[in-house]
Symmetry: C2
Subunit: 382 residues, 2 copies
Amino acid sequence: MTKEILEIKIGVLGGGQLGKMLCLKAAEWDIKIHILDKINAPASKYCHSFTEGDYTNFEDVFHFGKDKDIITIEIEHVNVEALKALKKKGVQIYPDPEILEMIKDKGLQKQFYAAYKIPTAPFKIYATKAEILLDIEKGEIKYPFIQKSRTDGYDGKGVQYIASNLEHNTLLEGGSIVEKAIAIKKELAVIIVANQQGEIVSYPTVEMVFDHKANLLDYLIAPADISEKIDNKCQRIALKLAHLMQYRGILAVEFFLTKDNTILINEIAPRTHNSGHHTIDACNVSQFEMHLRSILNLPLIIPKLRKSAVMMNLVGENGYEGAAKLQGFETAIAMEEFYMHLYGKENTKPYRKMGHFTILDKNPKKALKKAFIIKELLKIKS
Amino acid sequence: MTKEILEIKIGVLGGGQLGKMLCLKAAEWDIKIHILDKINAPASKYCHSFTEGDYTNFEDVFHFGKDKDIITIEIEHVNVEALKALKKKGVQIYPDPEILEMIKDKGLQKQFYAAYKIPTAPFKIYATKAEILLDIEKGEIKYPFIQKSRTDGYDGKGVQYIASNLEHNTLLEGGSIVEKAIAIKKELAVIIVANQQGEIVSYPTVEMVFDHKANLLDYLIAPADISEKIDNKCQRIALKLAHLMQYRGILAVEFFLTKDNTILINEIAPRTHNSGHHTIDACNVSQFEMHLRSILNLPLIIPKLRKSAVMMNLVGENGYEGAAKLQGFETAIAMEEFYMHLYGKENTKPYRKMGHFTILDKNPKKALKKAFIIKELLKIKS
């Protein structure tokens, strides 16, 4: 890009917490971020300009994008046709709309893994719930299994664990994939960053622990407590995948480490990701800065952890709905190496992602212990 | 304060770079910052609300402050009478208006040091330039000496070094102090933070190197390369001063280390300060977070350096005036542990503070070397 860096207009589809954290980083460099989202989105207070609109709507996205130099996303569920049209007009799009189209459809994503022999759980694609029931009847699907909506999944929604025929009522309608339920030892993730000139780097592998009630990431540990062999395998698969896709931008790759020590790709996200929130406080360079570096085609540096870190999501307390109130902050903030991020969502509801915090400690066990103490203290209520 | 922390309204007089960096920190916690300043001030894009107005004007400050819970400043040159009136109405003011009034007048500041036997350069207060000329004639002022405006100093303005009678034409009119020119080995600074419940902590002492052409801080080294004895002396004087003033909020204390190893207070600033800009990237807690902690009466933690740091100001290149352009960023950003902050001022002029950068390195000499390489690369032109 020959344009003066301070004049480049970056448009972001989505202004939630990821958009907000990107804006805060961009603000340090005086990089201009323009956001498209619904009114009062968390990023709206911190961007260079805010456009009210629907990022799933062709007209809204196309109109928003046409005077921008670069368009990127904080959520996959955007209007890809508009991005294709903008690309034709010469707007740089990260991730590439064709890649985004493939990733946002979990069916196509799985077919890509299969085509390139990237290890993933066995799966089959279905168009309707009825077809799934038929395959169950024929004995071709065995319990327990996982059903994932092809295109509607987000933050734990659109994924069902089906243990027996008693749970058929929860099966999703519409296009989905059915995966064999894998006996999982750990869930892991690697964030990859690639710029236009083909530099590509990765963050240290993290370990993710889920809250299965909410189907949401509860906390992560960085670095993951895994063998070097497993770590290398995750890193190699993530880098290989990014190379195969000729990926440009930032990509989160989520893995299962199975009980028999196999690494399988679970899914990928073509954007900044919850598995990288610790990088703001724990690394020499945050995932948000790396996102900017990648889309501005700036040099990439090797991301490193300063210390061990535990990042925990702050979700809306069960039983509370309405204007958010923060409880326990005054006590938590007295602790050393405690870094809180509150997203600025006015209203809370059970399990809504309202913020996160990161604990740093040379000793990962101590970091985890401290995180659990803070989890008991710090509550989002109404 | 019994009010829910997310509902507290903090008003800040001034929306320059200090206000902006405060907003960016507050955004992470979803703390609401409201700014009063001229239109297009750097902080205007990142605050919860922006009020266009003049912080030196009684009506503007009073009107802005009356619906706020807390008022604080990023510059001393504000209307103190309005702050006193707001204090009477129950608004919390940081720093206290009486203290601010004393500090913003360098004559009163020096008298305070004298009254409490805090070491400072010998001085005399003058009402006019004519009185100074008279004392020169009488032989009561010897060359070289320093003249400082009592109330108009800022960013190197309002301070004159007078070497001989050839420089009388540069003497400032109006109230000023005349100080003996001290043979200085180093300039040092300590930032103090105190909250309402009386907790008080300090940042490690830094060493400041000035650009004498611009009379501006060129760069700082943290920690300062001084003996433990000198360091302790700076820390003790800074803490004693804050105690004597019953200071609440954040206070920067600047020192001279004289050629004969005496520590003298140069001046103080009752706000976040250029001598603390490295704390964003080099410390476990930045001066901006500590400012928030102090005025919100949150617990203070001990500020620590992660590594040695060099912070260098990025000023407008000599010979360029107009819309700012950044040169050399793509090269500089390839370096490890380089952290840039650009303030978002649209127009540059010679020596205008446009940003700063911080270099971290275990080895302070390497950090300094890298900073000078970057200084050659990174230019603000028009």
